[in-house]
Amino acid sequence: MPDSNALKQGAGLRQQEDLTLLHEVSVATAGVSRLEMCIQCGSCGGSCPSAADMDHTPRMLFAMLRAGIRDDVLRSNTPWICVSCYHCVVRCPQNVHIADVMYTLKGMAIKAKQYKDSTAPDFSKSFVDMVESFGRSFELGLATRHYLTHYPLRLPGMAGMGLGMLTKKRMHLVPSRIKDMEQLTAILDKAKTLELTE
């Protein structure tokens, strides 16, 4: 029997179609995604302010979901370029919860470690770490940590701005922390054991 991996890559065969993918994404999305209602009209791709930087327009991504091309979907930079402006959401003639599907895809990509560029996932993770430790976000810490990892060469350029923000007291040097961190941690710990399955 031929090695299936070799078949996949070597013989130029297409990836196995994964027909459960659409359902999987739909179920994991908050609210009722209505993904199955997409008519491929492209009003999302047309509306997107950052479409030029995307690997695939959102519409194409939905077609790929339908076709079950899992790896390409999860590797696509599209969800990471989404700016959550909701233009596509209000214009979608089928009321698909497009922005929320993008969040779902990001989550799935992180879980599968399938993203091409780690900048965005890392930023999200740093943000979450911060919230989980302090209960509030802490802009200076976040920005510094993030820029140090991903744009070390930019940091000096940005320093002026950062300092400006600091001197204007628009950034704090120390994070503020909520009082009942214990409660928040308990909630989040419990939440992490739960998943949307149906």
Partner: protein
């Protein structure tokens, strides 16, 4: 006096301090009482949602649960920050639309002894409360120093008029609420075509090139319309357009100097309040020049000192321009 529960959100303590200061300054004049959600936590912005769904919604819902316990005379939660407003509404709406989500979130909340019944609070944005509860007439009646002659580009950004789960806004694309407020203040309001397009959101952090292009579109359009100043309702929009304007200029070789302030600052100004008390001067692109047009003296923005901690600037210098150099040049 209208009473509300206030969910300030993290940026009101930090980058959007001017928003907070000005809101606190005008609230009594407008007759609104604001009671902060006790020990509120971060709403997760646009980041937490991509990491893990149930924790993200539980994080938001903790605030809702606390607020609903607090709700005595009012069940309206006011959020001045767009992202917070959207996240709170979204959790409230989806917990109802997708009952399984509601159940799971409440299961998590129970670990902290909390519970939230979707629909039990009314989540609204500050601007909408000011327009529809306080009313344009009241706002107009408080104006003592009309902003006559100030050309303002009203800028709402995305997350206030969209997705608008409860259909509260006049339109998703060209809502008129902010324009009406500014007109009531006596300002000259330009018909800003990009008033609800995106400022780049978190892309300034994760994909700066994408963000710079979005910022450029906004600033250049406002400049084409010869706006003196832009005004916004959103901390993220203010931050991106203000703090990253110089970076954007550098990226495109442009020289825009478009100040952007919060609408509450302009309200306070029209109500005759002291500019400093309203947080003027905290903006990176100074609003001094714009406000001089209407005879308002602003304190000098403190330019950062020449001495910078960190490495020297490797980038090309900006060409000399007529407008004063930006403080980020340092």
């Amino acid at each position: 006096m209208n009473e509300y529960i206030l969910y300030p959100g993290c940026s009101m303590e930090g980058s959007a301090k001017a928003y907070n200061d000005s809101l606190m300054a005008i609230k009594d004049t407008l007759g609104i009482g604001l009671h902060e959600v006790e020990d509120w936590n971060c709403c997760g912005a646009t980041e937490y949602l991509s990491i893990n769904l149930i924790p993200a919604y539980s994080l938001i819902a903790r605030n809702l649960a606390i607020a609903s316990k607090q709700a005595n005379s009012t069940r309206t939660v006011v959020a001045p920050c767009s992202a917070c407003y959207l996240n709170l509404s979204k959790a409230d709406y989806y917990m109802d639309e997708r009952p399984t989500l509601g159940q799971k979130v409440n299961e998590a909340l129970a670990a902290g002894g909390l519970h939230y019944e979707p629909g039990s609070l009314e989540i609204r944005h500050l601007l909408e409360v000011l327009v529809y509860d306080v009313g344009l007439d009241t706002i107009k009646s408080k104006v003592v120093r009309p902003l006559t002659g100030l050309r303002v580009a009203p800028y709402l950004g995305c997350m206030v008029p969209r997705p608008d789960y409860y259909n509260r806004w006049s339109d998703h694309e060209h809502p008129t609420e902010l324009d009406e407020v500014l007109k009531a203040l006596g300002a000259e309001v330009i018909d800003f075509p990009l008033k609800t397009t995106c400022c780049g959101g978190h892309m300034t952090q994760i994909g700066p090139e994408t963000a710079y292009e979005l910022i450029r579109r906004l600033v250049s359009s406002a400049d084409n319309y010869q706006a003196d100043i832009m005004t916004t309702v959103c901390p993220m929009c203010q931050m991106n357009l203000d703090a990253y304007q110089a970076e954007t200029n550098r990226h495109f070789g442009t020289h825009y100097q478009m100040p952007i302030v919060f609408f509450t600052q302009l309200m306070g100004l029209a109500f005759g309040m002291d500019a400093k008390e309203l947080g003027f001067g905290l903006e990176v692109v100074s609003a001094k020049k714009a406000l001089e047009r209407i005879g308002v003296e602003l304190p000098e923005t403190q330019a950062p000192k020449k001495k910078v901690e960190g490495l020297p600037m490797p980038q090309r210098r900006l060409k000399k321009t007529a407008t004063p150099q930006q403080e980020v040049e340092a």
